[in-house]
Symmetry: C2
Subunit: 546 residues, 2 copies
């Protein structure tokens, strides 16, 4: 590809070093770890999505692209025409990708294989994207997050998008979607794919629309099919296909407050109405399956009729499409193609769980991949927060991957800073859900950080946090001096009085004097309180007659 | 009080004008409304907490303070020694404050009176704070939010705190707590009270501690009592009292990950251990009741043993204290004093509902007032977000007021910008809960904003949002031109293609051609799709034999 001269952000995350650990049973295959080095001599290893960009020993050349590591891994033979993780898992084969994921998540390889075989998890890993580090999307595993980037007709350059991708990986994006709609779509995607350590997804209809000058009515199956093949060849790992937007569902949106807000959904609705024909994505779905399974590209069945407002949540149009996605899920799996299902959107808190329950029932528990949802419509510029509330709750209910929302949602395209805020916010939602689901090891990080906080190991607290740079800078705003990094107080109370310090004193006093049980402390109490205790735990203060 | 020369932020919120509406049955009493003027000629009235500061006709003089409006309102006679909203409500009296609140919330005065009489709602309104605009805290009403401000030994000036108060009111803070711990505590509080349109709360033990040079062991009941009286006289509307931290509960915290993180709780724990006596807040609780009821100051019974980490959530120490708060609630109510209960803290999502259920059971549904809770410990610098997730969920479960958390939590004291981010974030959590609870009128705002969004009435969308200034500036980053404020596209898709525009076209086409039902559209379908439809809604694509 042409020289970009692009430079991206490199170097380790503050307080951490990059390490590679062996994948058991697969000599020569290693997975990445972010090791946080603590001031008390201990260390804490974190799941690492950042790629070689955080390896200070690595030589980064965006023009050359990343090493095509997976090309050297043994690949099982195709089964019945399909060379996918799904068919291999069904055949009882633990692929190198599955072993890698098991080691990375700290779980058993057999669990990974079984969840993939059952269609409850997917491993988006196009054979043509050997640069990617295998990861898994499924409710039995850590909740994942996706970052959307992409230029449009009015903004952004290719180099900017590559840096956004690296930046998103650095802060924790598990997958990336390139939603470019402007010119240079193919070239932008090429640079992203060759440098992306994570799986990359697209919405092929966007590029197909560019090929017909943006007029949806001029789209044809042939143009779309050729675009899909072009992207499969390039290495796209999963594709959003809005094959559930059927002609007869379109009128169900006519009386909505916000109609159809999905780009792909509105394109297909316009095509269906103009031609008075059923969607070519639906009528040619089997041919799509036959294309995707050759590369092991994963379907992300799009929710083209998702609600775009609280008023439209969980309505007839949304759930009619979901039923069709359930039918298509069975077809795709019967062709050996991996499938996940996209979800809303805008949903009030009390209507969130129904979305997960219905998706699992209709789609045989295929991984659910939701955009938020936003829990209210009234906070443009803060929709990373309105959606983090919905995202945490829907992930607790079983959603496997959360598509981030940035502060620019509804207002503009995210810049580099917005991408970071969106990623960190969604790491919070995903981790909160992992805690609520009691995911193995999830709470270890909270406990390690809280111990550092209670011990006033400020730098350890920063290093263990999702964003050490910002935590450090906030602390420095009020207590800039380096000694303050070890001071046994903070700016909230100041040096004279500190609740944490008193609490530490209380603990020490109690332990030293053996006052670690109510009995012990009561035994040592003075007459007055002894008298009180003699009355038992009930209140001896008189309740005033009303 | 001495001249401050302080100036604060004034003027209407962008797109809105200040109005005052009459309180039915109370000539001369009016309540404030923020009227959003829409470009389509309609208008939308919002609950308004901002005080006269957003009234462009008002003359603001911080040194003179706000008008003592409530002094002119008729006040019922004391009953049985108590002059509180609680005893009047029990006597069947609808006070001017209750009528004001009913009009402000759009609910029946009798509902307000009944909820207060039952102790399920409180109206913090010290007779000595006549500048305040009455508001109510209870699960039957809109969820409220509290903003904490206050200087410390190491930061901030008095003038800064007054501006923070006005700024918090502007963006939606329903109540304010002055948590100052440094010098000039009395003076800072005086300036805040005389200029605060909302109820103001404090934690008297902080000032008492200053009087003994920060050594908790030197505290006495007399010093504390005199501090409480001083603050009652000044006009504080509600006070956090950590009377549930009993001597025998202290050892229960010895083995916690983060011990005691509440300042008040750690002060009292230190005192109890040092003196080997029961907390004077507990042993003198009846005297406290007799003081507070003279002014109608509301108890906010503090959770001094709240968990400071995910590991300590819902533990024995926390719930032991809650049981004692339940006993104290009954005593306070028997003395005619209004009571609310403070809650955690740090709680994982799956342990949130238990907190509300237990509080309602033990405290006779006294209003619950929670700090977040934070749903994870791992994101310092983003704890407004980690806690907004927990706050929205706990409010959905029945919490009446949410104490905000700013991005500086755990790291430093919030500046003016942090205060705004904290307030807006908590308005999101509170509104999301109002939607989930189907609070009357809550969804009207979402619908109005979403209609504006779908109609490309950009300025209306901004004006109806929680933060019009930031929404506007984000939009202008990518499409600065004024025409773009009415353009039928945005920077996400650009002018050539826009999903919202296509969706609008689809809707228009469907309506014009009467294609508003599946039947109608099917009737008009071409042969091919007719043939498809003849097969019914089931898929005609072959499922491949496995």
């Amino acid at each position: 590809m042409p020289k970009t001269g692009t430079t991206v952000t490199t170097g380790p995350i503050w307080g951490s070093t990059k390490r590679y650990e062996p994948v058991p049973g697969h000599p020569g295959i290693r997975f990445p770890v972010r090791r946080v080095n603590l001031s008390n001599g201990e260390h804490f290893d974190l799941y690492d999505t950042s790629g070689v960009y955080t390896d200070e020993t690595a030589v980064i050349d965006v023009d050359a692209g990343l090493a095509k590591t997976r090309d050297a891994w043994p690949r099982p033979e195709p089964i019945d025409g399909a060379a996918t993780q799904l068919v291999w898992a069904r055949a009882g084969i633990v692929t190198p990708e599955m072993a890698y994921i098991a080691a990375r998540e700290g779980l058993a390889p057999e669990l990974v294989r079984d969840e993939v075989a059952r269609g409850r998890a997917v491993i988006p890993a196009n054979h043509r994207h050997p640069e990617s580090e295998p990861m898994i999307i499924g409710k039995a595993f850590a909740v994942k997050i996706n970052a959307n980037i992409g230029n449009s007709a009015v903004t952004s350059s290719v180099a900017e998008e590559v840096e956004k991708m690296v930046w998103a990986a650095r802060w924790g994006a598990d997958t990336l979607m390139d939603l470019s709609t402007g010119k240079d779509i193919h070239l932008t995607r090429e640079w992203i794919l060759r440098n992306a350590p994570m799986p990359v997804g697209t919405v092929p209809i966007y590029q197909a629309l560019e090929k017909v000058k943006g007029d949806p009515t001029l789209l044809t199956w042939e143009i779309y099919r050729d675009t899909v093949i072009e992207q499969c060849e390039q290495g796209v790992d999963y594709m959003t296909v809005h094959a559930g937007v059927l002609l007869r569902y379109v009128p169900l949106t006519a009386k909505r407050v916000t109609g159809i807000v999905s780009r792909g959904g509105s394109i297909m609705a316009a095509w269906c109405l103009a031609h008075h024909e059923e969607s070519f994505l639906y009528t040619h779905f089997v041919e799509l399956c036959e294309i995707l399974r050759r590369y092991d590209v994963t379907f992300s069945l799009g929710d083209g009729l998702r609600p775009g407002s609280i008023a439209d949540a969980n309505d007839e149009a949304q759930f009619a499409e979901l039923r069709t996605l359930g039918e298509l899920t069975k077809i795709a799996k019967s062709y050996g193609v991996q499938v996940m299902i996209e979800g809303p959107g805008h949903v009030p808190m009390h209507k969130i769980v129904e979305n997960v329950a219905l998706e699992e029932e209709l789609c045989e528990e295929a991984p659910f991949y939701t955009l938020g949802p936003l829990a209210t419509d009234i906070a443009p510029a803060y929709d990373h927060i309105t959606s983090a509330i919905g995202a945490a709750m829907i992930a607790q209910a079983g959603t496997a991957m959360l598509c981030y929302v940035t502060p620019k949602e509804h207002l503009g395209l995210p810049n580099r800073d917005d991408v970071k805020v969106g990623v960190i916010t969604y790491k919070i939602a995903a981790h909160a859900a992992d805690l609520a689901k009691a995911h193995p090891r999830a709470q270890e990080r909270d406990d390690a950080l809280s111990r550092a906080r209670f011990d006033f190991r400020w730098n350890d607290q920063f290093a263990l946090s999702l964003d050490p740079d910002t935590a450090r800078s906030f602390h420095d705003e009020t207590l800039p001096a380096e000694p303050a990094k070890t001071a046994h107080f903070c700016s909230m109370c100041g040096p004279k009085f500190c609740s944490m310090r008193i609490s530490a004193d209380v603990r020490a006093y109690a332990l030293e004097n053996g006052l670690t049980t109510p009995e012990a402390i009561e035994a040592g109490m003075s007459a007055k309180s002894a008298q009180f205790v003699a009355l038992g735990s009930s209140v001896y203060l008189p309740v005033r007659p009303l």
